[in-house]
């Protein structure tokens, strides 16, 4: 409870600011609409109003300000509008037994989740394998690391369409493969960097100790380097899963895809349905939250069982 309070306070502040911002954001389209339906607006004419600041418009049309909060296609929807849209496309549809219909956000979230999962799995495996290579091979340390860093300087939005085109050339565009690749591409780097630090974290004395036992390199890996890297692994997995989700959504944007949260955002943009975009954004945020929370839980359980939870505190 004591932990929840600050979170709730911040949440309330955000909702408050959001709610207050709705009026200035929507006042122009609200006045345009009101004028069209015959209400008296000062000044008259959309063009004239362009010259006036939103604050002045609100001050001069106080009676019409509430209309900002009731727009069908608002610039900025109210928290309530988003919540309603969210409920209509998730819970309400699920109650109707249409949770997996094309119109349901749950369906799209499920699609995105699957690609995220495969991307995360692929990216994590590559990241861990790369880290082991870098830590154990001087050559890889010198050759792989710079490329890994360079790879992250290429903006993913530039790369995503290329990956999709190449994937369709290779005939593997089905089943979200390109999305998973993009997702893995974003995910592998934090895992790689975290695991390199983790595998290198044992102190010289700990490595010397193993040498006095004439331990083999593989014993050194399993008994020292790997367990020592576990706290680092979880820290980077949490970053990695969020990156994988972002990668998947970005991968869903340019495909002309019709499935997934990214597609939902794009379609909402094209058809001018901002509420759909906002609801999809919230779904993505919730998904990220759930995934990170799940990993956090796994981290706690693992570290406690390893006896590291209290030691790290």
């Amino acid at each position: 409870m004591r932990k929840a309070l600050p979170v709730l306070v911040v949440l309330a502040a955000i909702l408050g600011i959001w709610w207050l911002a709705v009026a200035p954001m929507n006042i122009r389209i609200a006045l345009d609409g009101a004028e069209r339906s015959g209400a008296a607006v000062v000044p008259e004419g959309a063009r004239e109003r362009q010259e006036v600041s939103v604050w002045a418009l609100m001050a001069r049309n106080p009676d019409l300000v509430p209309l900002s909060y009731a727009q069908e296609r608002p610039r900025l929807p109210t928290p309530g509008q988003v919540a309603t849209e969210f409920w209509d496309t998730t819970g309400a549809m699920a109650l109707d037994g249409r949770a997996m219909s094309r119109r349901s956000l749950l369906f799209h979230a499920w699609i995105t989740l699957q690609s995220t999962f495969w991307g995360f799995l692929l990216g994590t495996s590559l990241g861990i394998a790369g880290a082991i290579g870098i830590v154990y091979s001087r050559t890889l340390n010198l050759s792989l690391m710079p490329w890994a860093i360079i790879s992250q300087t290429i903006p993913i939005v530039a790369l995503a369409p290329m990956i999709i085109v190449l994937a369709s050339q290779l005939g593997i565009e089905e089943r979200g493969v390109p999305k998973a690749i993009i997702s893995a591409y974003l995910c592998f780097f934090p895992v790689l960097v975290g695991m390199v630090s983790g595998l290198r974290s044992p102190a010289a004395a700990q490595l010397d100790l193993l040498r006095t036992y004439s331990a083999t390199p593989s014993q050194g890996f399993w008994k020292l380097r790997l367990p020592a890297s576990v706290p680092y692994l979880f820290a980077s997995l949490k970053v990695g899963i969020a990156a994988a989700l972002v990668g998947t959504i970005v991968g869903e944007l340019p495909t002309g895809a019709i499935r997934g949260l990214g597609a939902r955002i794009l379609i909402g943009d094209q058809f001018g349905t901002p509420l759909a975009i906002w609801a999809a954004l919230f779904m993505a945020a919730i998904l990220a939250g759930v995934l990170v929370t799940f990993l956090d839980l796994a981290q706690r359980v693992t570290l406690r069982r390893m006896g590291l939870a209290e030691a790290a505190r």
């Binding site: 004395a205 010397d208 006095t212 576990v230």
Partner: protein, 270 residues
């Protein structure tokens, strides 16, 4: 079962550790560092040898050479009549570092079992050995505890148990009690001495404390830095039985005085 006592290799006669004109120069950015210069020393089986000297005189380096963690640049060094490398593979020694260096994710029992796992001891023998050495260092009942649940002194005892677990004849200890307070230290010194008397192991023990060196040792090696070298080797006339209050006897004080003089002479040399 596992009651085989270690046979002190080369008991009487051939030394267990023999260094002849040992040199080790580190090449550093600031030029060469002569960590060991012309070090000659013979240690017989069952001896308790303390190395004492100011910081940087090469005590750790000498121990690391014996453990084949460092490669001398000149001279010869043999352990049990073998090269240090071969001796290591023959499990000739256990090394106790200044920091206990227990793995935090392993319980005390599993930490002590670490060398046994690596050396491929069968599981039931691992268990019996762990139980036996934990009893030696009076940690019975702490097998299931994690290192952070133990005091510093207990952790250091666990690390000694870990070095004892595979029954090496030689125990190399680098300031094992350096970070502990005086009272814990006294107690561990007493325990170490009785452990040494029971097992007949050869111990090489690095310390900064003159009373500790005099109390524990059959032989005290005084070293001095730049270049790291041996300035005096003192054979202790004290009896093997040593209650803590032996430290107030004239013999003890005379010996401590001689060590102190040796350390001072090393400094005056500069």
């Amino acid at each position: 079962m596992t009651g085989d006592m270690p046979t002190p290799a080369g008991s009487m006669g051939a030394p267990v550790i023999a260094a002849e004109g040992l040199n080790l120069t580190f090449q550093t950015a600031d030029g060469p560092v002569h960590a060991l210069s012309d070090v000659s020393l013979a240690i017989a089986g069952g001896e308790f040898v303390s190395f004492i000297g100011p910081s940087g005189c090469g005590k750790t380096t000498f121990l690391r050479c014996i453990a084949a963690l460092e490669q001398p640049t000149g001279g010869t060094l043999s352990v049990n009549g073998m090269t240090p490398d071969a001796a290591r593979r023959a499990r000739a020694y256990g090394y106790v570092f200044q920091a206990a260096g227990l793995y935090p994710w392993r319980t005390i029992g599993r930490n002590v079992a670490l060398p046994l796992e690596i050396m491929g001891f069968p599981k039931d023998e691992q268990d019996s050995r762990v139980a036996r050495v934990l009893e030696m260092v009076e940690l019975t009942g702490f097998e299931k505890k994690f290192p952070w649940q133990l005091s510093g002194g207990m952790q250091q005892r666990a690390s000694i148990a870990r070095a004892l677990a595979f029954d090496a004849d030689i125990l190399l200890m680098d300031e094992p009690f350096g970070a502990l307070d005086e009272i814990v230290r006294d107690r561990l010194n007493e325990e170490l001495l009785s452990l040494w008397a029971r097992t007949g192991k050869t111990v090489c023990f690095v310390t900064h404390s003159i009373p500790e060196a005099v109390y524990l040792s059959t032989k005290i090696v005084v070293m001095s830095p730049r270049p790291g070298r041996i300035t005096d080797v003192i054979d202790s006339p004290l009896p093997k039985e040593r209650p803590l209050d032996i430290r107030d006897t004239p013999e003890f004080l005379a010996l401590a005085h001689r060590v102190r003089e040796g350390l001072r002479a090393g400094h005056a040399y500069e």
